[in-house]
Amino acid sequence: MYESLINFIRSLVYVPDEGMVHAGLPPGWVLLVIAVMLMMIIVNRAAYATTRTDTGSKSYMPIAGEYIKPLVTTPWLLLSIRIIVASIFLLVIYAGLFGTPIPERNLATVLTWTIWWSGVVISVFFVGSAWCAICPWDAIASWLVRRKLWQRGSEASSLNLRVPKMFRSIWPALLMFIGLTWLELGVGVTVSPYATALMALLMVVLATVSLAVYERKAFCRYFCAVGRTIGAYSSMSPVALRPVDQNICADCKTLECYHGNDSIEPCPTHLVMGRITQNTYCTSCGACSQSCPQQNVSWQLRGVGDEVTYASRPHWDEAWFILGLVALTTFHGFTMMPYWEGWMQQLAYTIGDSGKLLVSFSIGMFVSMLIPISLFSLSTYITKRIAFDREHFQRVFSSLVICTIPLAFSYHIAHNLTHLFRESQGFWSVVANPLGINALPLSMQELHMRHMNPLVADDIVFALQGMLLMFGFWLAIRIAKQRIVQLGLLATGNKMALLPMTVFISVITLLNLWLLMQPMIMRM
């Protein structure tokens, strides 16, 4: 029985004839994940949803912030890190523009795509939205526009216009995310140091213009795809900036966290610390903790997934961004499978695409995004029908979509582990020679050496990937049940209302599992 199951799983793995690929998740792990999924479904059906409604922001756990308090209360420490990160960022631009075009020998491509883009998603799991606090795009934009290293800029430094109403949502961030994914995977920016540098320059331009024209930090709040991705994922993070004592905030009349003070900037994303329940828009910049006269803001520990389970209330635009994350992370996985290129060529052949296959890629990307979006919409619709619910579709959709965050986050991390642990061996060589002067492309011997000697043993990577998928699935069905109870969809006692979302979550998890089973093409 076990052998036949293992053989069946093996038959689902596509083994390419040639080319260097990373091994996929072994059948044993696949079987374990599926078994645990089945168990969780049974347990979830039997268990009652908890009725806890707190925000997860209370400091019922010990405050870890005491040890890192200087990070958020002393501007110089954060400023020092920002200067270092911005310097590295400028070096990336310089290396991209003036260095070798060989991607694996240039700091720009290795640091940006293999280390940073892979690592930043993983970092959210441990430090929430801390990356935004040291983001070089914003740091450089702030220094240019405000002409202050950390203090509040003069009124004349920005037009301080309100963002037009049509842009006061994260639709722009979603469109930018789609655009960046298209550039990354379709155009191939990841293998072009020059294009990577151009993209970096573009981000600085967007952040600077936005800061110069609009009030506060509109780029971070509405437009930045990376920031909004981090924001969505950080709702699962075990750390967040929160009030130490909620009562102090309740009695506060001056709201320095929102308005700032003479020397400290106001909250860049219009948050009031006393009312914050979601991490979505917190950039961890520390302005609130520095300006609070009571020093009542600190990093706090909380339960992993507490916020996303109990407190997150996404609006319509935020719901679509989350769904976009699910679709795009899965799409990322597809494009790195050995058969993807064959599919695209077949599509190009069918429609007579141009030589660059950009239309074929765009269609492939669209279809890949459409499938999970349609499945989720259908699941929401069926849930409503089963529960005879008269709520507006939009409200149920926005409420249930939150259960997809763990799916996207867990797969995103699992996928990025492969890049980070199996493709970053050349990092120190590009640090030693950032521009890749006189460097030759990787020889087959070097490529094999890298392939055979990953930073972390394959077995550990597999274990992490398997556990991540199980964790994502467990949290997703837990949230789905919680939300369905909150919406009153189980009021009629019809437990079948849980079924559509359980099926959707299972399908996406199995799809992600299948993607992790497949060999993945080495990027560099």
Binding site: A156, V209, K356, F366, I373, P441, M524
Partner: protein
């Protein structure tokens, strides 16, 4: 970066997607993608570098792509990988049938066009016969820039066109940097001037209001 991908014009018309039933947001996503596809002149890599910088031999690296087009496996190689202006280079094309492995034996026409936004000029580099299993075409470019070399042949009554983008010389590094710095300076100076005038106007209005109220 460059890449080459095959274009097979087999006489079939482009498929039109019926978008009427697609929900609004998905339509925006799709149109956005297509718009980008139409407007950005860049090269597609299908999720990975579609070329490899071959370094198997002792020769300097070449840029190459292996792909499957219609009935053929095609390998296309440009040498050197990063050619400079006024430096001789060549492209090699290998084409073998997928079904029986037989090498394509006919004529291949190599053409070149400027891969810039405002140019559609095409020049024929030459017509080559099979030579020891390879079609070889030499080139010398006088100016740096982005070009597309196309190899065209006909088999089974169907035309095959394989495009291979090629960067001659280094892309201008100072241009984008200079443009960015100049643009940002312009924005910052303009914003400062406008904002100072706005603040002065506001102060004047405030002063006027204060005087009137007294």
């Amino acid at each position: 970066m460059a890449l080459a991908l095959g274009k097979l014009t087999s006489g079939k018309k482009d498929n039109d997607l019926n978008t009427s039933s697609i929900i609004k947001v998905s339509l925006i996503i799709f149109l956005g993608s297509i718009l980008l596809a139409q407007s950005v002149q860049a090269h597609h890599v299908l999720g990975r570098p579609s070329y490899s910088l071959s370094a198997d031999s002792n020769t300097p690296p070449s840029m190459q792509v292996e792909t499957q087009i219609g009935e053929y496996y095609v390998t296309y190689m440009a040498y050197p990988a990063f050619p400079k202006p006024k430096e001789a280079g060549r492209v090699n094309l290998y084409a073998s049938r997928i079904d029986n492995g037989n090498t394509f034996d006919g004529e291949v026409t190599f053409k070149v066009k400027d891969d810039s936004w405002f140019s559609d000029k095409v020049e024929t580099l030459g017509v080559q016969q099979l030579d020891d299993g390879v079609y070889r075409q030499g080139f010398i470019f006088s100016e740096a820039g982005k070009y597309i070399i196309s190899a065209e042949f006909e088999s089974g009554g169907e035309p095959y066109i394989i495009d291979f983008p090629l960067q001659i010389g280094d892309p201008a590094p100072v241009g984008p940097l200079g443009f960015t710095v100049a643009f940002l300076l312009l924005v910052i100076v303009a914003v400062n001037i406008i904002q100072r005038k706005r603040l002065q106007r506001l102060k004047a209005q405030q002063h006027h209001t204060d005087v009137t109220s007294i």
